[in-house]
Amino acid sequence: MKRLALLSLLALPALAADRSQLPAPLAQPAFNLPTPSTARLSNGMTVKVVEDHELPFVWVTLAFQAGSFTDPAGKEGLSDAAIDLMNDAAGNYDGVQIAQALKRLGASVNTSADADGASLSMRALGRNVDATLSIMEAVLKTPHYDAQDWKVLQSQMLANVTGRKSDPNSVAYDVMQSVLFGQDYKARRPSEASLQAITLDDLKNWHKTHLAPSQSILLVGGDTTQAEILPLLEKHFGNWANEAVALNKPTFPAPPSQTTLTLVDRPGAAQSVILAGRYTGQPTEADHLSFSVANLAIGGLFTSRVNMNLREKNGYTYGARSSVSYDLAGTFWSASAPVASDKTVPALKELLAELANVTGTHPLDAEEINNARASVSASYPLRFESPDYLLSQQSLIWRYGLPEDWVSGYLNRLAQVDANTAQAAWNKRMGGLPFNLVIVGDASRISGDLVSTGLPILRRDSDGHLLNP
């Protein structure tokens, strides 16, 4: 304590900084956007490679077009299960052997599946890439679909169906899908009945008919080169031959005719989860980026209108945000806010007012759009810290048929966005148009007041089924 006091007396006084204004920037370092190289295997599969030698790992992802949108009615959960089981036991390995072989290699082989597609991926140290690809090859070509493995996974998936109904965020999401799609696409999620209906033969058959080179792409990143990795990929996947069924992709859902509020009762809930959503256009349309930037200013950033109002001004929530995403059905705008139960109606009214004001009393102004645009463009280089982002974008370009310059032309397209294009995109896609609202909360504490919003109110249960009024 004493020593410190003495030190500060003796030290030369620091040259005090000018605190009268925010400091100016230094010179900006150059940055070259990395680009993937492209090659093909002899079976026609495209290979994209992004070199990055910072860490001693190589990542290989085999992405598939088939996702849960392919699940037949009554067997929802089929694709998810079929993908998940692939790396449980395959080739000469049972489940324990596959896990231990990977541990000895310091490597991993993972599967993942969602509504729009699926993938099989691995990571390994450079010297173990060949050995790890051998395991990945077995997982792709000769999964066992062992009865006990399916029994274990089935019970976990059944429990997950039950578990989701206890989580208000999952309920809000699931009910929104039911509102948007009825019984199709993302509303087609696993149920107790559909999981019980899936047989081992269904799983094997899905694997045989839904994964094929013509509907797959290979993505490679990390400490390797195209010259080094191609022969290994050719060895393990070049002779993979399979014919898959044609995939019927989902279409854009009919927009709602009026903004409607769906209430899901959760007795005793500590908060109400508010979720709003609307499908609006396609990511391939010219105004998609302007729309995204408009959304950043309205609800996408911490400093956006919605968060500054609901959180920083009113304290109704820990965080309120809106986002723009896209999937096989199109561009999806959504907003979410978990709010204190007794503030549900005031919070909802503020949210609705902020949205309405964009096309009324509070149009987007140049400064907030410039800031929103800069928040994305200036942080863009950070996304290229690891190969993940660039590779995942290659996968999205392929999956959704996006333009080839989706990444390389991004900053140029972004530079064209201004308050006028942002406002126009918002007006066209959202301005005054109806959307869907879901609230999951304690109806006894909020339902009476909701009537004061003037919105039609429907009740659904946590499965998404309409309840009688």
Binding site: A17, R104, L125, T162, F302, T303, S375
Partner: protein, 429 residues
Amino acid sequence: MALAGAPDAPTIPFEKYTLPNGLQVILSPDDSVPYVWVNVWYYVGSRDEVSGRTGFAHLYEHMMFQGSAHANDDYFQPLQRIGGQVNGTTNLDRTNFFEGVPSQWLPLALFMESDRMGWLLPAMDQEKLDNQKQVVRNERRQRYENRPYGNAWIYLLDAMYPPEHPYHHATIGLHQDIDAATLTDVQDFFKKWYLPNNASLVICGNFDTTEAKKLVESYFGEIPAAPEPAPTKVKTPKLTEETVVRYQENVPFPKVWVSWHSPASLSRDDAGMDLLAAILSNGEDTPLYRELVYNTGLAQDVSAYQSSAELSSMFTIEATASPGHTGDELVTAIDNVLAHYRQSGVSTDELDMARTAYEVQFYDAIATIQGKANLLNNYNRITGDPGFIAQDMARYSSITTKYLKKLIKKYLPEDRRVVLHIDPASEAK
């Protein structure tokens, strides 16, 4: 013998020095992208809170984003519009703040961090405090109360540590304490803890070290030191019996947590407990998974983990029951697995596989500049050496099967621990 998967030890280049006011500065260049992270640790966490003010360290963290004398606006405003990524976190032991900015904006990041380190109070007012109390109480509702099993960690700490222990309460605190916080509390906390000589600053990323030193000196040098606060330190009392606590809540399945006190962060035994956790439950080949999930169907999932902290850590095994099974059945099954390992120890093969997985994870920890920045601050705080990574990895190499067997006996006794059950409320309202 090292397995094929064992990587070489990673290194992180750095330079450390201390300003005359006591602020520790660690510079670590990495030019992979034109971006730089500023990461400040204040050595104060929820363990330093006083009676009736649980949750205050975290509430105070929120107040650090409400503007300071020369930047009296929301902290995000000037940083988000230049492409900054901003956040902060509070835990039992420390509070950290970080912003990533495009390299050219390093002066702005340092200006902002230094202004709230030196000049927070002139911009503080009651309205800001009242607002953030509501925000934090909503954070509590969102992250703990309105999520199935979200309260588990609050219950566990409560049962593991006696009321006088600084880890007895969770960082989020109690509603009534958050609500009771006053402006005077904010002022006192700032004056006591938010001092240059109770903090360390890491700059990691693409920047020029000469330029950075000048900027740090200019922005932070004039902030006065004050008497260094005494860190809250107590000896953690040993558990003397098994304590079983049961709650009924709106959850879908019975779930159990079995917890023991375990060695503090970055000690050798702490690494041993990490390895033990991996041997027990990391992967479909491991004994807890086989015995609770795969072979018996008692549980949907099971995991063991060491939660490292400065004063004392916790080793926990948690498992969620399958429909039709109870938490008590899971505890019995867990005990059977532990009894086997207490008796027979682990095999060389099991240890080698777990160790290799840990060695690989070291690279995950340094994969991002932000990850490296925080790791440097963590090493510096606990060991005094930001370059501890090689020794950290060596901790794992030093563990033998014989040593692990001793750790199981010493730290995981069946009769001295806490067992927490959260069961579905019998009558859904």
